[in-house]
């Protein structure tokens, strides 16, 4: 950066900032284009998340996030939102190590860049592992699919007439707005919808939740996870280039590390909103 601005100061400036011959944004072409790529990517993610909001407000009930996301590896029981909070922390830490890599790059400290980039890659891989666990739980344990959503919400209060062998017993009561998970019978591979009696004494049966939830969840977290995955690949490639000394010759303060850093922070930034929309609201 420093070398660039001095070069600009000495450049002939005939038509003002935008008359040519100068760099009005005081940033290289690559960095500028990374910013505009991220802008376009932000619109893609915004489109996905706004779709989620639109479909969510268009149906009377929606799966309750702290009921859907409550599994933690190696622990049985219910820990609402704990695991996604850990995932968020993993991503924040990897963002911080990335800032450190960029800082060491500005000081032309090759070893420092490799060290902090390696930590960033480990963080990204940990996040992907966490996501794999979450997807596996939803797909194989809870049988959620692109068009099947076993997470429902009661629209009236009542009493169960039968149990499901997963914590619900006959005679248990529930209130309107309470979430439930429809379990699959492992022999017949069919959903076991529990019947209940509402307060007026009428018989009712559980139903599946809003269909769109599964597709939205897998598309949005999958698209984000794919960004993390490609980020890890690019970080690996650039780390290899740092190790072989490619950027030493360029003498531009490891600008390539700065550019992949922008991308990596953007992935963290998107997660802030995925976390908000999917898990908090």
């Amino acid at each position: 950066m420093a070398t660039e601005t001095t070069a600009l100061d000495h450049a002939e400036n005939k038509g003002g900032d935008w008359g040519g011959g100068t760099s009005p944004m005081k940033a290289s072409y690559g960095k500028l284009m990374m910013w505009y790529f991220l802008l376009s990517d932000a619109f893609t993610f915004a489109g996905f998340l706004i779709t989620y909001g639109t479909l969510r407000v268009s149906v009377p009930t929606w799966p309750v996030p702290d009921f859907v996301f409550q599994s933690v590896p190696f622990l049985s029981g219910h820990y609402p939102l704990i695991f996604v909070t850990i995932m968020t922390f993993v991503l924040i830490v990897s963002s911080v190590t990335m800032v450190r890599a960029v800082q060491e790059g500005h000081r032309e400290n090759q070893k420092g860049v490799v060290y902090w980039m390696a930590l960033t890659i480990i963080g990204g891989a940990c996040f992907l592992g966490c996501q794999a666990f979450e997807w596996n739980t939803l797909i194989n344990k809870e049988h959620m699919g692109l068009t099947v959503n076993p997470f429902g919400t009661h629209t009236e209060s009542g009493t169960y007439l039968e149990g499901d062998g997963h914590g619900i017993k006959a005679g248990d009561t529930f209130a309107a707005g309470d979430p439930y998970l429809v379990h699959m019978d492992h022999k017949t591979h069919e959903f076991n919808f529990l019947s209940y009696k509402n307060e007026a004494g009428e018989k009712g049966q559980q139903t599946l939740g809003p269909k769109a939830f599964g597709a939205l969840f897998f598309f949005i977290t999958g698209f984000h996870g794919f960004h993390v995955f490609s980020g890890v690949i690019f970080l690996l490639i650039i780390m290899m280039n740092v190790i072989t000394g490619l950027y030493i010759k360029r003498k531009n303060g490891y600008e390539m590390v700065e550019k992949i850093g922008l991308y990596w922070h953007f992935v963290d930034l998107v997660w802030v909103f995925v976390f908000l929309v999917f898990y908090l609201l």
Partner: protein, 138 residues
């Protein structure tokens, strides 16, 4: 880094940023758990407090990541504006699509209600001309 701070200062700033983002995330999760009655039995925080608080805190996290981690606060103003101003389009997108989704919901509800209506066989044509029926066509 061209901003007049020493190397040590910039490092401590990064770690301060880490603790700040972590603290905000924990506050968000606590608000979410409070709001759904997981922390204090029988107490649920009002959605009117819960939703704006979580949206505000997330917006702050986004602002911090862009300004400090992505270094946008130290770029030329033209660069920052050329990236940030187009995002204002999203304000309208959010309002318009949530409005549209709410309409889909109420329209579906209306159709379901109409389907359950039993028209008495004696009713004449004039009685059946319900002005409500035509609002969906407008």
């Amino acid at each position: 880094m061209g901003t007049g701070v020493t190397y040590e200062e910039s490092i401590s700033k990064v770690w301060k940023g880490f603790w700040l983002l972590g603290a905000v995330t924990i506050v968000e999760v606590i608000i979410a758990l409070l709001g759904n009655g997981h922390l204090i039995h029988g107490f649920e925080l009002s959605r009117l407090i819960m939703y704006p608080a979580m949206i505000g805190l997330s917006a702050f996290k986004a602002y911090f990541i862009v300004k400090e981690f992505m270094h946008m606060g130290y770029e030329v103003r033209d660069l920052a504006m050329s990236v940030l101003l187009p995002l204002l389009l999203l304000v309208w997108a959010i309002i318009a699509f949530l409005w549209e989704g709410t309409y889909w919901g109420s329209a579906r509800q209306k159709v379901n209600d109409k389907n359950e209506l039993k028209v008495p066989p004696t009713s004449s044509l004039n009685d059946a001309a319900d002005p409500e029926l035509y609002t969906g066509l407008l």
